[in-house]
Symmetry: C2
Subunit: 379 residues, 2 copies
């Protein structure tokens, strides 16, 4: 097996270390930018790397529909296709088939659906999801699961979780098909169970019986709020394996990430920094700023004076505000670069703080700075 | 005066040399990418520079409306605002006020109009155009003119040209206001006269009586066709000053540029390489290719195997075709980079050919390669 995790330091429940893959190392806690359709939107991959990203996330659902996993495989795999030679994690398609596809039908076998792009008919199952992720050449493959809707009754949540556990075993069997690919890359299970402690514990126990290389926590960041999310982590993390990567899927806002790292999470992904960049939102050490706001139009200062990204080094708020107002593509390019740099700087700060056993000081300073709000307007 | 042109070699009517400005040198024949709204669309300025561009064009009409010339001046000028430290040429606004603005009214004084963005009322005149271009910090300022509509009768063309000549003198007087800015930067006159030899000759003679640093040929590439355009150049170029830059405005397709360089033009600008990049068109040494065409979807080859741009070095036609189909911003980013590189490589080839007195061989090879058409589809 070419995949391993070294935990180099801990501070409370938080850990920092390195995940080793055949495509290189991932420093943890890690934030994975989302490259939905084989591109981190508005970014060249070399710029994504310059922000500090060690690994990207690719979306099985989008890629199976366009340009198709088979085409990407013929062209040499996802890494080559999108010019990103470092690690890639792919989701299973389970979440997005439920949120994007049309005419979905869930059975024990899997999910049949129609493409949101052209209405064509498709099937996703544990076996098909494993096949697609292998065709893409993913380095961290996610088991196929059902993301339980929120809110859901306990009975609905339990039935959904139990289905996901049966699919987890089928994912494992399909992944471990004797190929060299399976020995070189990793399969992660996904803990479900909604906001119910006993169901989360049941799910972790079921997944522990299968030899996954890491476990993700799914079904959060779906509207339950940060307090509930942290509560779920508080009772779920203690029963999770200590020696394997723990990935909180689809999270989140900067303070979500900080709180989850404090609770022992190693990996995150979220569209927020890239999506916000396309809608004119900038994350700064002091605030989250709407660059469309009129107060920026004459402001010669950078988005964030502490940031070293090229958007902050070479451009003013006035200029970026102009680009966003004028609908210029360079606006999303610069804001996405900034936001991803902000997220990676946050992860770097968390890693250093854990290594120095100063996480609580780091977290206090983080919240104090965010509480200050944005810099005062010019004039 | 900090502005000068050295003609280093000639081959027939074609010339190659260097224009010197306070912001650095411009190798000629030069192609100027268009940075309409203080950005070459979908490009970072450092990437524009990497394509080989020595100078950008900025648009007075767009910038006066948004973010306004006064705001750009307060923020330190257009170079600083858009992070481009090299030379900038600005047009006068005369062309775009006629093609974009609403409720235009032309008088001897100038053009009153309403903004196409928000309907606000504005005035452009020789004096106001000079003021705006000075506020922007332009290194090559264009005289304010009326771009004669095409087609137009000879009488309409003559009246329009004579108005432009009176505005040229007013532009000159307004530009040379005794400021240090006027001593450090250049003002170009614009030859009008449509497709009428005597009117073009009259216009050149009128402009020669004013001490412009260079002359542009305006009113072409407006629908008259390449044959007519070259015919106008054939009778206009011989009477143009030999020791000053000659700029063919708004041109053009690659073969337009080649033919105009053969006729002695030194400078070009055109939105074609950047606009085409946003609509999925790629210029190659053999063809102009629509990347949306289905034959590219499985093609592992680059857009142009002779091209050294990062889009051709790191990405396949299949990938770029996928990006365009998926509406991903990276598609225009890569295609614009490629197209601008293609244009700059063409200019570089023309400069080298003139210096070696092998322009006719270069032009023959250029046309032979373009006549081959695109590479054969895969499979």
């Amino acid at each position: 097996m070419s995949f391993s995790m070294d935990i180099e330091a801990t501070d409370g429940s938080a850990r920092t270390g390195v995940i080793k893959t055949i495509r290189g190392e991932i420093r943890t806690p890690a934030f994975m930018p989302v490259g939905t359709a084989a591109t981190v939107k508005a970014m060249k991959p070399e710029t994504v790397r310059e922000t500090g990203a060690d690994i990207l996330l690719g979306n099985t659902y989008h890629l199976m529909l366009r340009p198709t996993a088979e085409r990407i495989e013929r062209l040499g795999g996802l890494h080559k296709f999108m010019n990103w030679e470092r690690p890639i994690l792919t989701d299973s398609g389970g979440f997005q088939v439920m949120s994007l596809a049309k005419l979905r039908k869930i059975t024990e076998e899997g999910v049949s659906f129609q493409s949101h792009i052209d209405g064509s008919k498709h099937m996703l199952s544990p076996e098909r999801s494993m096949e697609i992720q292998r065709l893409l050449g993913s380095n961290i493959v996610m088991a196929f699961d059902e993301c339980t809707p929120y809110p859901a009754t306990k009975k609905e949540t339990e039935e959904s979780m139990l289905l996901s556990m049966r699919w987890a075993k089928r994912s494992y069997d399909a992944f471990h098909n004797g190929s060299q690919y399976a020995t070189e890359n990793a399969l992660f299970g996904i803990v479900q169970g909604g906001v119910f402690e006993d169901l989360r514990h049941h799910s972790v126990a079921a997944l522990k019986e299968i030899d996954f290389e890491g476990l993700a926590i799914g079904g959060l960041a779906v509207g339950e709020g940060q307090d509930v999310m942290f509560e779920v982590l508080d009772y779920t993390m203690p029963v999770m394996p200590k020696d394997k990567p723990r990935y909180l899927m689809g999270v989140g806002k900067p303070d979500d990430i900080v709180g989850a790292v404090e609770r022992g999470i190693d990996m995150f992904d979220c569209v927020m920094p890239s999506r916000s960049g396309r809608t004119g939102q900038a994350f700064t050490r002091r605030s989250t700023v709407n660059m469309k706001n009129a107060r920026h139009t004459d402001d010669p200062r950078p988005i964030d004076e502490e940031c070293t990204c090229s958007a902050c080094q070479s451009y003013s708020r006035a200029y970026i505000s102009h680009l966003i107002r004028a609908g210029e593509i360079l606006g999303p390019m610069l804001l996405t670069e900034h936001n991803l740099t902000y997220y990676q700087d946050l992860m770097s700060g968390l890693r250093e703080a854990i290594a120095a056993k100063k996480l609580s000081e780091f977290v206090t300073a983080f919240h104090e700075k965010r509480a200050m709000g944005d810099i005062d307007p010019i004039g």
